[in-house]
């Protein structure tokens, strides 16, 4: 056999791949230098680290924690969950409506109505790309300090998240059952609700559960900018160097987020396997 017949060993555009690799390495080095990354800072000042750990452990020790304070944290934690849940519910509802308008090849296929579809997609993209903390700052200005601002921030963030993924799930569904229904006298709306949405439902539920997990995690930090929830307590404890009490709150957050993730994982498995 002639060696020329053998399959080529190296990809055809080798020099291009090598160029990409070199650029990647250079960009990484540049980024690390810009981020002020320093091993000596991280491990070179053991007294600060020891100070933090001594104050933080064991939790409760330095200022004996009262039941009173514990229940205050618990109430703030409950408020955090309420914010996350209410914001997620509102976000799912409005996100679903926007996703219906924004999906390609779904409702607005005629050229006159296409601008509505493009505009809805744009709104979703805008809601998604502005970070939740920024929304929280804006809503604190608009509706004042407290849980309502946080709920609105989570709602807007969830609209962006659910709007995008709901729309993608509906776009990916096999459209032939919907076309079959339109062939026997159904309107576009009939076809979407009786054929596309039932097929996309498992995706919708999985996305909604992810949205709730995400909302719980972000509602924990929204308090830092005054938008309600347990973040405010956490920040003020750090300001007063009460690291031991802060550790209690961090532990509570850890348990909450882990529990929510476990529950939502379990629910997702159940739904996907159904």
């Amino acid at each position: 056999m002639n060696m020329d017949d053998a399959p080529r060993r190296l990809p055809p555009k080798l020099h291009f791949y090598i160029l990409c690799l070199v650029l990647f390495v250079l960009f990484s080095g540049w980024s690390f230098s810009g981020s002020g990354f320093s091993f000596s800072k991280l491990i070179g000042s053991p007294e600060y680290l020891m100070d933090f750990l001594r104050r933080a452990f064991p939790p409760f020790s330095e200022h004996r924690i009262t039941w009173d304070a514990f229940f205050r944290y618990l109430a703030a934690l409950v408020e955090t969950i309420q914010m996350a849940f209410a914001g997620t519910i509102l976000g799912i509802i409005f996100g679903f409506i926007l996703a219906l308008l924004a999906s390609k090849n779904l409702l607005f296929t005629s050229p006159y109505l296409r601008p509505i579809q493009v505009l809805s997609k744009g709104i979703i993209a805008f809601f998604r790309t502005v970070p939740d903390l920024v929304w929280a700052i804006i809503f604190v200005v608009v509706v004042g300090l407290g849980a309502f601002a946080g709920t609105l921030a989570i709602m807007v963030d969830t609209i962006g998240f659910c709007g995008r993924f709901f729309a993608e799930e509906m776009e990916e569904v096999d459209k032939s059952p919907a076309e079959a229904l339109e062939c026997c006298g159904a309107t576009k709306v009939d076809a979407v609700f009786s054929a596309v949405i039932p097929a996309a439902m498992p995706g919708f539920i999985a996305t909604s559960l992810f949205a709730f997990e995400k909302a719980v995690r972000s509602s924990v930090v929204l308090g830092i900018v005054g938008a309600g929830g347990i973040g405010l307590q956490l920040q003020s404890l750090f300001n007063f160097f009460s690291y031991d009490r802060a550790m209690v709150i961090i532990g509570m957050i850890f348990i909450l987020v882990l529990a929510i993730e476990q529950i939502s994982n379990y629910a997702r498995q159940k739904i996907i396997n159904r």
Partner: protein, 253 residues
């Protein structure tokens, strides 16, 4: 009475003539089979007849009204009287068999009322009126699947799915059923069973039938007349009594 009339129908894709001036009509109650090799234009003809594809020229009349010049509203109204059975049954997978059959009556609900969302109750069987549900059960009984009414559509075998699709078409009380290779995705036994059931029901209910097929024996057994397409033209148009299997095989050459 002529149910479907096609006159000088032409359609080309990317400069290639797929349908090159077809003329034929189907009288009421007749079963007409269209045969022809792959690419002969069968599917394009079906798509034009259902107005899923716009023909380049020529006319399609269903029940004496011109499909080409219909408004969306009139087109929907016409479609609600035409049952369609696809090669791939096209059921909604996660809904129950009963809901899928009830979907066949969405068009009727839209015809009764001009209001938007007038078919909202028929999106699933849970919200459908009792009369609609019992009619759907009746249609399922005709195809022998009444016991599976509450099973999910994606739990059915291919033959069962196609029977549900037939029940969905019957739910429309159609005067005409258009079927695009209804047995092509089934194994020979299931295909035989489903087709004989399908044709028996159409004859009983005096439903006019237009179907495409690759199976010349099935076409001979069940159709009253056969049209063969070759390169977008009609190469044969005869009653089945005068035809033999060999005549049809030669059409594929």
């Amino acid at each position: 009475m002529i149910v479907l009339k096609i006159a000088d129908l032409r359609k080309s894709y990317n400069g290639k003539m797929v349908l090159d001036g077809l003329n034929f009509e189907i009288p009421k109650g007749e079963a007409l089979s269209i045969i022809g090799s792959n690419g002969a234009g069968k599917s394009t003809l079906i798509k034009c007849a259902l107005f899923l594809t716009k023909p380049d020229s020529g006319s399609i009349d269903i029940f004496d009204s011109r499909v080409n010049s219909m408004s969306q509203l009139k087109l929907r109204k016409m479609r609600s009287n035409v049952g369609v059975v696809f090669q791939k049954h096209n059921l909604v997978p996660r809904l129950s068999v009963l809901s899928n059959v009830i979907h066949g009556s969405i068009g009727e609900a839209n015809n009764k009322s001009m209001l938007p969302l007038s078919a909202i109750g028929r999106w699933t069987h849970v919200t459908a009126a009792n009369s609609v549900r019992s009619k759907a059960i009746n249609c399922l009984r005709m195809v022998g699947l009444e016991p599976l009414a509450l099973n999910r559509a994606d739990s059915l075998s291919g033959g069962q799915s196609q029977r549900v699709a037939i029940a969905r078409a019957l739910m429309q009380d159609p005067e005409l059923i258009i079927a695009d290779e209804p047995a092509a995705s089934l194994d020979p036994i299931a295909g035989q069973q489903v087709m004989s059931l399908f044709f028996k029901l159409c004859k009983e209910k005096k439903i006019t039938l237009l179907f495409t097929s690759h199976n010349t024996d099935q076409a001979l057994d069940y159709a009253d007349r056969i049209i063969a397409l070759k390169n977008g033209k009609i190469s044969l148009n005869e009653e089945t009594d005068t035809l033999k299997s060999e005549d049809l095989i030669s059409e594929y050459g």
